[in-house]
Subunit: 121 residues, 2 copies
DNA sequence: CTAAAGGCTGACGTTGACGTGAGGGTCAAG
DNA sequence: CTTGACCCTCACGTCAACGTCAGCCTTTAG
């Protein structure tokens, strides 16, 4: 499929898709016309990229992670302790942020769920 | 206390503290010299700001939330339905972010080989 | 009193993930 | 065979959360 369709099917802008390629997250074929030609797996890949980006990972980190996801091989990861450590660190950061967000949401809940309290104290 | 001490006690840079003020997150008094004069509560406030920022909230969102939290108690929220709506919207955004982060963490978990923990809300 | 340390206000620089044209090919339809 | 939708490659613009530097004033230590 061409870039416009992938864009519609993933919600990522055309510009974003070209940017992902520039960052090594996608490697579409090229048609004789020079047009990018994506396969079905690209749809899943783009969704993963977006999830990880929205989680605060950089394209560089994602580029490290992605090949392992695509191949569905945890084997490589298990063999590379350096990469494993990096991933564990990212995981820890994400967990911290989930906890921070949960705390923030609890604060909002206490504000919303307690109507007509005019003053603290 | 002056800005340098607050910086040391919070880990935020002097520049960051001035930036937070610019964004309406802090409102220190001023000494006759023009120096900023922070009270003890500022320490807690800055910590809250940093947690929320690291969780991915913008200073604008934080500015909406912060004034409503004073000494961990509710102030005037119940009387303003407009504000309540804003907070509810903010809550929804936070929940979305938590879900995105959880999905991202699951991806990392599958790579690391850690068993997926069923999120208990 | 003097120098170092710390504070102040601009104001420009930085980084990451794109947005937004400019200028120009490609392709299916009428 | 022209029109309009879609694609291409530069390449500059943007926005957030600060970093950094300049030029100048205030406070503190000796």
């Amino acid at each position: 499929m061409k870039i416009g369709e992938l864009s519609r099917r993933t919600g990522a802008s055309v510009r974003a898709l070209r940017y992902y390629e520039e960052q090594g997250l996608l490697a579409p074929e090229r048609l004789p016309s020079g047009y990018r030609d994506y396969d079905e797996r690209s749809v899943v890949t783009v969704h993963r990229v977006r999830v990880l980006l929205s989680a605060g990972l950089s394209t560089a980190s994602i580029a490290e992670i992605l090949p392992n996801v695509v191949d569905d091989s945890v084997v490589l990861t298990g063999r590379c302790p350096e990469l494993r450590e990096g991933l564990a660190a990212e995981r820890a950061r994400i967990t911290e942020r989930i906890e921070a967000l949960t705390a923030a949401r609890d604060i909002l809940d206490s504000l919303i769920g307690r109507p007509l309290v005019v003053s603290g104290r």
